[in-house]
């Protein structure tokens, strides 16, 4: 395997990791504030559908982005109302949101476009285009002849849509917000010990709603990238468990942004290898294609089974806060 092949796989891994990364950071904010969110999947699906639909109708991917984020934020608010205001079961609310997204995207999509739950194929300004960084070699033949650093720069670092770079910046941004601002300190505290935050005169309800909104925003970016960057349109059930894989990555990373990037890149790499090698032969035994396809899910279980040692979730996670009288 030459450098170019490796680079191509890594390049693809980065693309595939991006939606996971947004979703994982989304879950990070929500869970750090004490709100479990297994509805990431539904939010990704809803925003993928709305971003692709709005982009198809308006012809502009940026308006599509707004649509996608709006859809995801709406579902996030629904989760907030159910789990913060009405102190409902957060798992059940998440399950409901996942079903709601998977049903409405098809019902409404069929009504809008009549394409069996798809949106029209997106092209031109209705998709996020690849950005060529300055000085990158784009010609394939010239690239093959180029030196290794140029290859790395041109193949791996250049040529992604803007959302991939935004995703990498979001890791940095999340770290800064969580560990270097007053808001972040309060957010982390509210997920560990909400009573103390309440005693300090900060509204637990407001902190948790802010976290849920940030979660909605980031899931919106995940879905938008999926439908308008990675693919050219919405297909039903296109999120394909990414919301759950992101949750596994979140546990893997022990609720820390930097490790979340690593975990998501690992899952992305796995998917990239699976896509590239549909049939792998190991010692004369051909690995079935179904096994390759199921690999991300199997790996998720393996990671959850504690290969990484003990992962301790935020202490107040999943419990509604009842103010003391």
């Amino acid at each position: 395997m030459d450098l170019m092949t490796i680079l191509q796989i890594c390049d693809s891994a980065l693309r595939l990791a991006t939606p996971l990364l947004f979703a994982c950071l989304a879950g990070l904010f929500s869970e750090r504030s004490g709100i479990f969110d297994i509805g990431l999947e539904g939010k990704i699906l809803a925003s993928a559908f709305l971003s692709a639909s709005v982009a198809a109708m308006s012809g502009s991917v940026w308006i599509g982005l707004l649509g996608g984020v709006a859809g995801s934020v709406f579902l996030a608010l629904l989760h907030g109302v159910a789990s913060i205001t009405f102190r409902g079961n957060q798992l059940i609310s998440g399950v409901a949101i996942n079903f709601l997204a998977s049903g409405t995207t098809v019902v409404i999509g069929e009504n809008w476009f009549g394409l069996g739950g798809r949106t029209p194929q997106l092209s031109g300004g209705a998709r996020f285009q690849d950005i060529t960084l300055p000085g990158a070699v784009t010609d394939n033949d010239a690239l093959r002849e180029a030196s290794a650093p140029v290859q790395v720069y041109s193949e791996l670092m250049s040529g992604h849509t803007i959302l991939v770079y935004v995703g990498l910046l979001a890791v940095l941004g999340s770290w800064w917000l969580l560990y270097r601002t007053r808001f972040g300190l309060r957010l982390r505290a509210v997920g560990e010990n909400p009573e103390s935050v309440d005693t300090a005169g900060v509204s637990v309800i407001r902190m948790r709603y802010s976290a849920v909104l940030i979660c909605g925003l980031l899931c919106g970016l995940a879905g938008t990238y999926l439908a308008t960057g990675l693919s050219a349109g919405f297909v039903k059930e296109m999120s394909a468990g990414r919301g759950f894989i992101a949750l596994a990555a979140l546990i893997f990373s022990k609720w820390r942004p930097g490790y979340a990037l690593m975990a998501c890149l690992l899952f992305g790499l796995l998917e990239a290898i699976g896509n590239r090698y549909q049939n792998i032969e190991i010692g004369g035994f051909e690995v079935p294609v179904q096994l390759m396809q199921a690999m991300p899910y199997i790996l998720t279980v393996v990671i959850l089974a504690g290969i990484v040692g003990k992962a301790i979730p935020p202490r107040a996670g999943g419990e509604p806060y009842v103010k003391e009288r």
């Binding site: 297994i38 629904l78 109302v81 159910a82 789990s83 009405f86 102190r87 409902g88 079961n89 957060q90 798992l91 059940i92 609310s93 399950v95 409901a96 949101i97 996942n98 079903f99 709601l100 998977s102 049903g103 409405t104 098809v106 019902v107 409404i108 069929e110 009504n111 739950g117 468990g241 759950f244 949750l247 596994a248 546990i251 079935p288 179904q290 096994l291 396809q293 199921a294 899910y297 199997i298 998720t300 279980v301 959850l304 089974a305 504690g306 003990k310």
Partner: protein, 364 residues
Amino acid sequence: MDKIPKWVDIALIPLINLFLALVVSGLVVLYIGENPFVAMKILVNGAVGSTYAWSYTLYYATNFIFTGLAVAVSFQARLFNIGGEGQAAIGGLGVALVCLAVPWPHWIMALPFAILGGAVFGAAWAAIPAYLQARRGSHIVITTIMFNYISSAVMIYLLVNVMKRKGSMNPESAPFPDGTTLPRAFDVAGWFGLPFSRGPLNVTFIIALLCCLLVYLLIWRTRLGYQIRAFGHSESAALYAGIPPFKITMLTMLISGGLAGMLGINAVMGEAQRLVTDPVQGAGFVGIAVALMGRSHPLGVLLAALLFGMLYQGGGELEYEIKGISREMILVIQALVILFTGALDNMVRMPVERLFLRLRKGSA
């Protein structure tokens, strides 16, 4: 402390929740340009308007009783088993292996082994997430969801590469021998000289009813059931009382998976008469809604399963009659039922409780 009357808790509030879910579903129908009242009429008519409709409604209800009971049992121990879909599919595999392994002379002999096959395979598929939860603390919600995806890969692999019928283009097993054909409702009705439409309803329905009874006895009349409920109420209290968490987690999930796996008797042995890649058709997920609506009580599960059976059958007719409404509309209604009866329960409960307490104060 004052409490609301029991009938409000178990009947009125779920009904208000259901009503709200239907209102919002109606709004969705209205939005896509159809008349919700016409849609409702078609749905009800398609679900209960003929013996043909009843046959399908009760057939679906049978599936939902199994998956609903599966989720209900796990809820009692406060374990959230979302893996009913995968456990039922693998249970179907177990049923198929039993049916294909022996040239069964009569269904009476095949049925007990098929039940065993379905239950054991379903339980085995639930055992791994259960073990990981009990020993490693892996979140059972995520692991069971992952096992749903893995089960679908397993089913496709087996049906494409191992169990595929010779000469068939579709990934499906060979048809089961005649000795495994379960009597259907029209056969049974025929014994008594009654007319009944040829539908998929079969004797499995009676097994499902028995399972409701058995689950009731298990949860409320046995030591294990008491331990499961105690564990669900407070893990630390249960531990203090000498109830081992590992054992309870494993047993609860094995029972839950076994119940889900028994869906295979109805869908694979009773209806399809061969194994296909997706015999479950979403029934595992419906089980969640059914258990929530039924308040995790077998009688409630039975009623909720009937309701969802109607919804499924009626929804199918709806798709057939009105072009603009796709089959996924059922999924929307299902999601709204879970949302209103499960997550937003307090939205209705709080005002209703206040109202009743005020009424009581007024009369006292």
